[in-house]
Structure formats: structure tokens, C-alpha cells
């Protein structure tokens, strides 16, 4: 068991030792962006955000920021507003009040043309819960990733970036021409991650990235995500349970009925929760400890 402990502290091990070494420090792709504003800015800065659907307010005055390379976990049960938050950040749901800044740009004021330009620059990407739905079943792994890179760069460079991204998530080259149905759950989700990081986003929103996966696939996906963060992308990981977040999140926020009720390091929130709701939530999580 001592080795497991060692592993926990050694959190950022490459997903597959056999895969080509994961992004050495200082390699060209480690430099996230060339844009000057994106270089120093937070990946995400949300201030006083409220979101309403008709008369119903689903998010109340939410503050949140994700630094470059930081992994922020957002925990909430169904109806807590966590998905609305993610969709607002990605411009799929309008903000009713407050500001949303992604990669240094005030996206809450964007109109459709600005969103188009922003998206084609690849600043913010998402990894969905179930890769079987988020990947087109007719596309091979490589083609799925290419779909994104081709919006950012042309020709051979697009292919190079796509292949690079697939290597970064540790997907063996022989799997690149397989379609989702021919891959395991973990491999599929790594393709989805590769697709998102291939355009070098400042922010990667992960909506329940492992909850559709079997336990044995979770480790490889969490490791791939941790590696993405190491290369400078900020991660907002949304989940209804903490079990997979603890290992990668630098900070954990707890969302309850549209309010953030707890904000702290993963260790603080998990071991010494302050808010009564967080205490209930954490007590409810089944563990294998006797």
C-alpha cells in the first residue's frame, strides 16, 4: 500500500509509459499561445455571475477563477447550476448579470461574429461526459481531432497538431484510424481530450469527464487531464461527485442551489468541509474504508 501513497503524491505520471514521452518541458507546444493577452491572463475569471431561465435564477452571484495550468473542480448535485455555469462560460447560455472573462477577453459581451472569431482561435474547449455521444461515430480518432485543428491552422500543420495531441494523451498510433466503437471507453475519452487540446485552448471545461467510464478507464483519463493542465491549460472540471476530482483538482468549489458554498484546496474541502451542505455531501460519498 505504500506504493499507492507514493502514487498519490506523484500525481502527474504519463498515462502510458509505452507511449512517446509526454510533452517535455520547453517543447514548442508547451508554449500555449502566441497571443500576448492570453499569456498572462487567467484562463477563466467569472465575477458576480447570475444566470436566469425565465423567472428562475439558476446561478446567484458566482465568483470563480481558473489560473493557467490550474485545475479547479466544481462539485454540485443535479440542479445545482453547474452545467449552466459551464454553458455560460462557453457562450451557449447568456449571462443575466456579472462578467465572464476567458483568456483575457470579456466573452459575456460578445455578439455572434465575435464568438465565431473567438471559437476559431480555439480559446475555450469542452470535454463532454460520454465520448460515445460527443464523438461522431463515423469519424476515426484522427479525423475527429483534425476537425478542430483545421479551423485554427491549415494543411500539414493541422495534421501535425492533431497527431501531436493524440500523442500527448498517450493514444497509441495504431488506434488513430479506429472509430469510437472500436476503442475502449478510456481511449475514446482520450480522443475527445485530444480533440479539445489540439487547438491549444486557454480553458478546458470538462463536464463529468469520467462518470460515464468504467473504473478501469478512469485512471487513464484523469492522468491525461492532469497532463493537459501541466502544459498550461486551465481546467474547470465539473462533477457530481468528488471521487475522481480529488486526485487532480488544485482547488474545489462546491455549488449548491446556484450558490458557491465552499471554496478551498481539495484537501481542505474533502477533509475539513466548512459548510453544512458540504459536510453532508462528503459524508454521503461511499468509501471503501471500513
Amino acid at each position: 500500500m505504500t506504493s499507492t501513497t507514493a502514487l498519490t503524491t506523484e500525481r502527474f505520471t504519463p498515462p502510458e509509459a509505452s507511449a512517446p514521452s509526454v510533452l517535455p518541458e520547453g517543447s514548442p507546444t508547451a508554449d500555449p499561445r502566441t497571443g500576448d493577452d492570453a499569456q498572462s491572463a487567467d484562463a477563466l475569471r467569472v465575477e458576480g455571475l447570475s444566470v436566469r431561465y425565465g423567472a428562475r435564477t439558476v446561478l446567484h452571484d458566482v465568483d470563480l477563477h481558473v489560473g493557467p495550468g490550474e485545475v479547479v473542480g466544481l462539485i454540485g448535485e443535479s440542479g445545482s447550476g453547474k452545467t449552466s455555469l459551464a454553458r455560460t462560460v462557453l457562450g451557449l447560455v447568456p449571462a443575466a448579470a456579472g462578467s465572464v472573462e476567458v483568456a483575457g477577453q470579456r466573452v459575456d459581451r460578445f455578439g455572434p461574429p465575435q464568438w465565431r472569431r473567438f471559437r476559431r482561435a480555439g480559446h475555450a474547449q469542452q470535454v463532454f461526459q460520454d465520448p460515445l455521444s460527443s464523438l461522431d461515430g463515423r469519424f476515426t480518432a484522427l479525423r475527429s481531432v483534425l476537425e478542430g485543428t483545421r479551423e485554427v491552422v491549415r494543411g500539414a500543420e493541422a495534421t501535425r497538431r492533431a497527431e501531436d495531441a493524440l500523442r500527448r494523451v498517450g493514444l497509441a498510433e495504431r488506434l488513430w484510424n479506429r472509430r469510437p466503437a472500436q476503442l475502449s471507453g478510456g481511449q475514446r475519452q482520450r480522443v475527445a481530450i485530444a480533440r479539445a487540446i489540439a487547438v491549444d485552448p486557454a480553458l478546458l471545461v470538462c463536464d463529468e469527464p469520467v462518470s460515464a467510464l468504467d473504473a478501469s478507464s478512469r485512471i487513464e483519463v484523469v492522468r491525461a487531464l492532469a497532463d493537459v493542465a501541466r502544459s498550461g491549460t486551465g481546467l474547470l472540471v465539473i462533477s457530481h461527485d468528488l471521487s475522481s476530482l480529488g486526485a487532480i483538482a488544485d482547488r474545489v468549489l462546491v455549488l449548491h442551489n446556484g450558490h458557491i458554498v465552499e471554496d478551498g484546496t481539495a484537501a481542505q474541502v474533502l477533509t475539513a468541509p466548512q459548510h453544512p451542505y458540504t459536510q453532508t455531501l462528503i459524508a454521503a460519498i461511499p468509501t471503501i474504508a471500513a
Binding site: M1, S3, T4, A6, L7, T8, E10, T13, P15, E16, A17, S18, E77, S78, R117, F118, R119, R120, G122, Q125, Q126, F128, D130, S133, S134, G137, R138, F139, E147, E151, R179, A181, Q182, L183, S184, V199, D214, A215, S216, R218, I219, V222, H240, L242, S243, S244, G246, A247, A266, A267, L270, T271, I282, A283, A284, I285, P286, T287, I288, A290
Partner: protein, 635 residues
């Protein structure tokens, strides 16, 4: 291609396709293979019956009917196809615009579509055909325009399904232009719908062409068409009653073939068309290579776990080596009968259960499992491991195309109560919950209305729903998943079962609700002296609720034992991995990491030792197996 092959396995589809190929050949070469000039008149031989020279006889001008039939095919079919082509292009474009276009354009498209639906086909076509110089082509273009709204309706629904999918949303997040999204994601997916709709529309269109030419619209008299021939032959029906049979049959057979083909395409499993046949049986499909890739040690482990159940089979060479080489807390001894009382206590005994798919593919490959009275037993496994099929076999509810191929299930009790995942799907949405609970009580337990209502109140209170009458008056969508699962548990225990089966009963629930439902199951178990068989993919859920665990993988049990033993000293590499998953990701892991971090601060230099620790080099970063079994790596 796979879709076409699947299609051709249906005889009716093959025949229909063959007919249509022949029709297409006649369209192309009809005039060439016609034995006579279809326009050549012979006044000496009018209205003759079938003969060696004229197989189908001659018409009122002495023209060869067979030749006119063959030559007339082209105009009849091509005119029909024109209309379908126009409808297809127009309809698909409109459907795509109605989904992806800017809002004002969408509005216009929808209104135009609605108003076109109100116009009558043939009348409109006759008018257009006459207006544009009696041209069948103009008439059929008009028909196509009028038929387009039908296409819009059908195609729009298919487009919408794809447009709302996550891979389209992902593409939009990349800023992929709409036109490219349509070309790469949407169009390939609506091809089956387009095929079906076009085939049915072509059949309808053939009838329209026949009607128009029958009426003499659009085609000048000498030119042969199926409808025109019918019309001419009808005038001489009294003299030659069988002359109209040939053109009528040509129309009928072609229309029927199109209709049958459309139906058969529609019958194809949607996924086969979507993914060209790769997605069926996915879970099982990729379970196979994993199994074959299992190392020799892995196989030996399986043998060892199996012999725990069937001691007579023990004693093979490699198995002995493995057991002797492994740690002292070997599973073999503890799993055998000693710790579990005698077999006569068993409420449920499953012996050598094998379940196979219709194709002969084994899904459950020899499972031995028992549930002693009053004990809670957990089955742990991933999707495709065979855990749910085993339970369905027990409940006699195996899905179609899957059957028990061997082994026995021996249930010593009288009743089994069961709860499943997605509780809301077990209630009808249009009836109150109370009426549905009463229905179960009245039919399953023969109660009167009043007794059922009384018992229902008791049961709902029993599972912690404090206002039973209010809950009873509600509909399923008005309650949370946790409340609905409580109601299902109430129904499950209402018949005082001996065994409660809970298959992923808390999987779709929030963790706080999950904790409540698990607590309720524990309470019901104690109050009703139930045996419980709990199925889950979540080790932690089972760890707290079960005294005994079976671990399923790829249709076999790879580990069995008392829960604390399985958690403390998992024997099979797969179980080790599952336990490690929790120690790596769970709260324990974070707590341990926090402690570790503190200790690290105290003892400088410890980190260096840890990086040197060889176990962290494991692919997947798993704990190094402590026994001789080293390989758990999946491909």
C-alpha cells in the same frame, strides 16, 4: 456496404431490389430490346391476342404492346424521378435551413412549408402542365415542388436529432462553419431517411405520372407511356379485356417493389446505417481482445478463484505454483464453505450458469454464485461483465436473442423483490403513482381497492415518505429520483420477498440521495429479514452494504470472498486495480495525500526516494501486484 449486405439477407428486399434493377435496365435499354418499333402501326392486325410475333398482342392501331411497354418505361419512370429529385433537393435544403438557418429565414421556411401542404397535387400539376405547353416535365417539377413539404417534415426531424448531438456542439465550439457541419456530420446521417422517403415518394410519383398520362396531360399521343397505354386499352376493354393487364402490372409491381424496399431500409437497425455496422455489441466486442490479451498469470488467477467454488477441480500444476507463490492470505481457504455455513442455508444457488447470445457468442461463461439466507451479497462488475444478465436470468427476464445455455439456478425461497436503475422509467407518466401502486397490490396480492389503499399508505410511510396521500396523488415527473426509488423499494418489499435484488439501484442518483437509499435498503433488510443481491459497478457502494462480494469480468467471476477480505487483500489483478482506483481517487487518497504532504515537509528528501520507487513506473500507475501475477495491463 455492410448496410447493403444486411439488407440483401431479407428475401423480400432482395426481390424488390432485383425488380428495380430490371426496371432501371429497361429504362436504359427499353427501346433497344423492344422487338418492334413501338410506334409502327399495322392496320391489318389491330387488337390481336398474344402470338409468337406479338407476345402481349397488339393495340387498337396494331402496335406491339410489349414494345410500347418497354419503350414507355423510360418516360414514365424518369418523369416520376424528376418530381422526386426536385422534392428531394428542395425538401432537404428547406429542412436544413429550417434547423440551421438564421431565425427569420427559419420562420419563412416553416410558413411556406405549411401553406404548400394544403395544395392538391394532381390538380395543381394538371394546371401547370397545361400552362407550360402540355409538358409532362413541367408538370412533374410542379409535383416535386408540392411534394417537397412532405420531405421537409421527415428530414427536419432527422436533421434536428443530429443537430442537437454533442459532436455537433463540439464542432460548433471549434467554430466549424455550419455548411461544413452539415456536410460532414449531418448529411451522412440522414442518408437512410432520404433513401426511405425517396423510395416511397418515387412510388407515389409513379402513380401521379400514370394518372397524368392516363388523363392525357403532358404527353402527345403517339409517345408510349404506361398511363397512356392504360387509357387507350380501356376504350377497347370489351374486345380485349386483358390488354390493360400488362401496363397495370408494370405500374403495380414497380410501385410495390419501391414500397417494400423503403420498408426494409427503414427496418435496418439505425446504428448499422450510422456507423456502418460497427457499433452493435460494442461492450462485448471490446471485451474480447482484453480477455485474449490477459496474461498467463491472469488465467491462472481465474482458475484459482474458480476452484474455490469447486474444490474437486483443484490440483492442476500451474495453479498450485501460483497459490504457493502468493501471499499467505490466499482466497482459496476462506472462500470455501467454512466461513459461509452449509449449502442448506443457501437461499439462492447458481451453478455453472452460462448465457449465450443468439449468434453463439458466450456472454456469461460458467458462473457459480450463492446467496445464504439473511446475507447481503454484492456483484461488482463493469458494463458487459455479465452481472446484469446473470440477474436477469435469475428473474427470468433475459432480453430477446439471449438465452441460458447451461448450468442451474436454484432459488429456495418463494418471492423475489427487485429494484433497478432509472426508477422513473418503471412508472407510466400519465397515471398517478398511487393508482399504479394500488394496481400492483390488487393484482399481485389480490387485495380489494380499500385494502390496497390502506396498504399503500403503510408502505409509503414505511419507506420514509411522510405524506403518503400527497405522494400518491402525484405523477412520476413531479418526484425526485430518490423518492421514486423509495416507492419502488416499498413495492418490492410489499410482497414480503425472501430476496431483494437491487441492480444499480442508486447509480443514477446524486450521492446524498444515494446514501439515503442505501440506508433505506439496509433498514428494510433488517426489518424484513431479507437476503439481498446487490449489483453495482461501484465498489464503494457494495463495500458498505454487502458482507460478501463477487467480482465479474468478461462473463466469469474473477474474485469472490468476504467483503473485508476482498478489500484488504484482493487476489485478482483486476480487483486490485479496482481497489487501487479508490485508493488513488477516493477521499481516502486525498486525506492520505494531505497527511503525506505534511510528513514530506517534515522529512526532506523523501520525495527523491519515491520517484525512485520502481512501482511508479507501472503503466497506468497501478500498485505493483504483490503476488507473482504481474500483468493487469489492457491493450
Amino acid at each position: 456496404m455492410t448496410a447493403l449486405r444486411t439488407l440483401l439477407t431479407r428475401p423480400s428486399a432482395a426481390v424488390a431490389l432485383a425488380v428495380l434493377v430490371i426496371v432501371a435496365l429497361v429504362v436504359a435499354f427499353g427501346e433497344l430490346i423492344a422487338p418492334h418499333d413501338p410506334l409502327a402501326q399495322n392496320t391489318a392486325d389491330v387488337l390481336a391476342g398474344p402470338s409468337a410475333a406479338h407476345w402481349l398482342g397488339t393495340d387498337y392501331l396494331g402496335r406491339d404492346i410489349l414494345s410500347r411497354l418497354l419503350a414507355g418505361t423510360r418516360l414514365s419512370v424518369l418523369a416520376a424521378a424528376e418530381a422526386v429529385l426536385v422534392a428531394l433537393l428542395l425538401g432537404t435544403t428547406a429542412a436544413l435551413t429550417a434547423v440551421f438557418g438564421p431565425r427569420p429565414i427559419r420562420w419563412v421556411v416553416e410558413r411556406v412549408v405549411d401553406s404548400f401542404m394544403a395544395l392538391p397535387f394532381i390538380t395543381f400539376a394538371v394546371a401547370i402542365g397545361a400552362l407550360l405547353g402540355n409538358s409532362i416535365h413541367a408538370a412533374m417539377v410542379a409535383v416535386g415542388v408540392l411534394a417537397a413539404p412532405t420531405f421537409v417534415r421527415v428530414v427536419r426531424a432527422a436533421v434536428l436529432r443530429t443537430a442537437q448531438s454533442q459532436y455537433v456542439e463540439a464542432a460548433r465550439l471549434f467554430g466549424v462553419p455550419v455548411v461544413r457541419i452539415v456536410l460532414t456530420h449531418v448529411l451522412p446521417r440522414i442518408v437512410p431517411v432520404l433513401l426511405v422517403t425517396s423510395a416511397s415518394a418515387l412510388a407515389a410519383s409513379l402513380l401521379v405520372v400514370a394518372s397524368l398520362t392516363f388523363l392525357g396531360v403532358g404527353v402527345q399521343p403517339p409517345a408510349p407511356t404506361w398511363g397512356g397505354m392504360l387509357s387507350a386499352d380501356l376504350s377497347y376493354l370489351a374486345l380485349r379485356p386483358f390488354n390493360p393487364v400488362a401496363p397495370a402490372l408494370a405500374i403495380m409491381v414497380t410501385v410495390a417493389a419501391l414500397g417494400i424496399l423503403a420498408d426494409r431500409i427503414r427496418d435496418l437497425p439505425q446504428t448499422r446505417i450510422d456507423e456502418d455496422g460497427e457499433s452493435a455489441d460494442t461492450e462485448i466486442e471490446h471485451a474480447q481482445p482484453r480477455d485474449t490479451a490477459a496474461s498467463g498469470d491472469d488465467a491462472a488467477e481465474s482458475v484459482r478463484t474458480a476452484d474455490a467454488h469447486v474444490p474437486a477441480d483443484a490440483g492442476t500444476g500451474p495453479e498450485q505454483e501460483v497459490t504457493s507463490g502468493s501471499e499467505p492470505a490466499a482466497a482459496s481457504g476462506a472462500v470455501s464453505s467454512g466461513a459461509w455455513g452449509t449449502a442448506s442455508d443457501d437461499l439462492l444457488t447458481i451453478d455453472g450458469l452460462r448465457i449465450t447470445a443468439e449468434s453463439g457468442r458466450p456472454l456469461v461463461r460458467g458462473v457459480d454464485l450463492r446467496v445464504p439466507r439473511g446475507v447481503s451479497v454484492g456483484i461488482l462488475g463493469e458494463s458487459g461483465s455479465g452481472k446484469t444478465l446473470t440477474v436477469k436470468a435469475l428473474l427470468g427476464a433475459l432480453p430477446d436473442g439471449v438465452e441460458v445455455a447451461g448450468g442451474s439456478i436454484d432459488f429456495a425461497g418463494e418471492r423475489i423483490g427487485s429494484v433497478f436503475q432509472d426508477p422513473a422509467t418503471w412508472f407510466a407518466p400519465h397515471l398517478t403513482l398511487g393508482s399504479q401502486i394500488d394496481e400492483v397490490l390488487r393484482h399481485a396480492q389480490g387485495m380489494t381497492r380499500a385494502e390496497a389503499a390502506e396498504r399503500r399508505r403503510e408502505l409509503l410511510t414505511h419507506v420514509g415518505l411522510d405524506d403518503p396521500d400527497r405522494v400518491s396523488a402525484q405523477y412520476v415527473h413531479e418526484l425526485s429520483g430518490g423518492m421514486i426509488q423509495r416507492i419502488l423499494l416499498a413495492i418490492a418489499v410489499s410482497g414480503e420477498p425472501d430476496l431483494l435484488v437491487a441492480d444499480e439501484a442508486t447509480t443514477a442518483l446524486d450521492v446524498t440521495v444515494q446514501a439515503e437509499v442505501l440506508g433505506l435498503i439496509r433498514r428494510l433488510r433488517a426489518e424484513h429479514a431479507l437476503s439481498v443481491l446487490m449489483i453495482s459497478h461501484d465498489l464503494a457502494v457494495l463495500a458498505h452494504s454487502c458482507e460478501y462480494l463477487y467480482v465479474f469480468r468478461d462473463g466469469v467471476i474473477v474474485e469472490a470472498g468476504p467483503t473485508d477480505q476482498v478489500l484488504r487483500a484482493p487476489q485478482h489483478p483486476y480487483t486490485r486495480e479496482l481497489v487501487a482506483d479508490h485508493t488513488v481517487f477516493g477521499i481516502e487518497a486525498v486525506r492520505r495525500a494531505a497527511e503525506e504532504a505534511q510528513r514530506e515537509e517534515a522529512e526532506a528528501g523523501l520525495a527523491a526516494d519515491q520517484t525512485a520507487d520502481p512501482t511508479t513506473d507501472q503503466p497506468n500507475g497501478m500498485t505493483a501486484p504483490t503476488g507473482p501475477g504481474k500483468g493487469t495491463q489492457r491493450p
